[in-house]
């Protein structure tokens, strides 16, 4: 089992009722797996609606997570 942290921003943080959650995952779990298991229902959008990062670097939904990883769920950006 692995412990990971997920950061939420913008409206994703509102819907998840928090800017940071911790999850315990099975070995081999991908970002996409975690999203579908823990977030899709509350965020009400498919995985393709978001970008993701792991340890502050862009990551594909197919990336496998490891103990200690910090994942971010990144809605469409709107800076500027």
């Amino acid at each position: 089992m692995a412990e990971i942290t997920v950061l939420f921003f913008s409206y994703a943080a509102d819907r998840m009722n928090g800017r940071q959650h911790r999850y315990t995952i099975e070995p081999g779990t991908t970002i996409g797996d975690l999203y579908r298991q823990e977030m899709e229902e509350r965020l009400q959008q498919p995985v393709a609606a978001f970008m993701f990062s792991v340890n502050a670097e862009w990551a594909a939904p197919s990336q496998i997570l490891h103990d200690g990883d910090e994942v971010a769920v990144i809605p469409p950006v709107s800076g500027g």
């Binding site: 409206y11 509102d14 670097e57 950006v77 709107s78 800076g79 500027g80």
Partner: protein, 146 residues
């Protein structure tokens, strides 16, 4: 000198200009993004910005390197402010210097375009009627936000 930074204090345009001025440069282009009193036809009283700071500064640094490589610019400044901003306040500054003016202007425009499309920063509109909504929130309603 180059500056790439997310900050929660007001943006100092003079800091940006001082960083890019160079005797080799014939042109400096500066873009300031400021808080408008209207968005999509609806009155606003300000914006709240948040960033995923670690990744945002990393991505801005990548954009800086792209501008230097693609447009042959001498110096690049990209500063984005976060937190509560009032109407008319500066949310973002992009400033570049180059030997020739079109390089500088093209690079400055590419800089703000790439910040807006790639850097993990989000804005929440504070409507004049007291409501708030994140930009691009699918639940904010198609008529209110794009």
């Amino acid at each position: 000198m180059d500056i790439v930074r997310i900050q929660d204090v007001p943006i100092d345009v003079n800091e940006g200009i001082a960083a890019i001025i160079d005797e080799r440069a014939g042109g400096e282009a500066i873009f300031l993004g400021t808080v408008r009193n209207v968005f999509e036809g609806r009155a606003s009283r300000g914006l709240f910005y948040e960033a995923y700071r670690d990744l945002a500064e990393k991505e801005m640094k990548r954009i800086e390197e792209e501008l230097k490589r693609e447009f042959d610019v001498l110096h690049v400044v990209m500063v984005h402010r976060i937190g509560e901003l009032a109407l008319g306040e500066i949310a973002v500054m992009v400033a570049v210097s180059a030997a020739h003016r079109h390089q500088a202007i093209r690079a400055c425009e590419a800089g703000i375009d790439r910040i807006k499309s790639r850097v993990p920063i989000w804005k929440k509109e504070r409507w004049a009627d007291g409501k708030t909504a994140w930009h691009d929130d699918p639940e904010a309603g198609a008529g209110q936000m794009r």
